[in-house]
Amino acid sequence: DVKVTQSSRYLVKRTGEKVFLECVQDMDHENMFWYRQDPGLGLRLIYFSYDVKMKEKGDIPEGYSVSREKKERFSLILESASTNQTSMYLCASTGGDIQYFGAGTRLSVL
């Protein structure tokens, strides 16, 4: 079974803090993705990566950055968290065409 693990299920941070969301997959997938999910807006792509040290902007990259130093790990970074970044964050990796998702991190920025 494919496993995509996100480091935290729930996270509470303060405005202005630097936040790291970690994602690890165990299936040697090349492609990894970060989404945020908000009611009524579905899943929106923040960043994705097709290879180590490679990153591409998705639809809503502003306020975020990513890091892919190893194939299995894809990190999402909020340089200075803001309240409008309160959301559910989902990481995924792709095997063939299928997206395998982690359990998600619900981030609250106060």
């Binding site: 993705f33 899943l43 792509l45």
Partner: protein, 108 residues
């Protein structure tokens, strides 16, 4: 940008009634996928459609891809409480775009 419009946003049915959600694109799709997200869970892949006019079935679920490959639907016959969740379509290929999702709730 390229969007996939999914309707309805919400659907509440009595257990045993049918349910359908639709995805529409202004551009031709190379393929479309469907995912289900249970309450409190994460999206899980259901199926991928690739061919024009394709119809696939999984028990009570029927998936269709339009002849022009611009729309797709997911139909559930005789819903059960286990069908509760949000159903998403995903436009694949070069740019991944999810539909907004249809949240299905069921009155037992």
């Amino acid at each position: 940008g390229q969007q996939v419009m999914q309707i309805p946003q919400y659907q509440h049915v009595q257990e045993g009634e049918d349910f359908t959600t639709y995805c529409n694109s202004s551009t031709t799709l190379s393929n479309i996928q469907w995912y289900k997200q249970r309450p409190g869970g994460h999206p899980v892949f259901l199926i991928q459609l690739v061919k024009s006019g394709e119809v696939k079935k999984q028990k009570r679920l029927t998936f269709q891809f339009g002849e022009a490959k611009k729309n797709s639907s997911l139909h559930i016959t005789a819903t059960q409480t286990t069908d509760v969740g949000t159903y998403f379509c995903l436009k694949g290929a070069q740019k991944l775009v999810f539909g907004q999702g249809t949240r299905l709730t069921i009155n037992p």
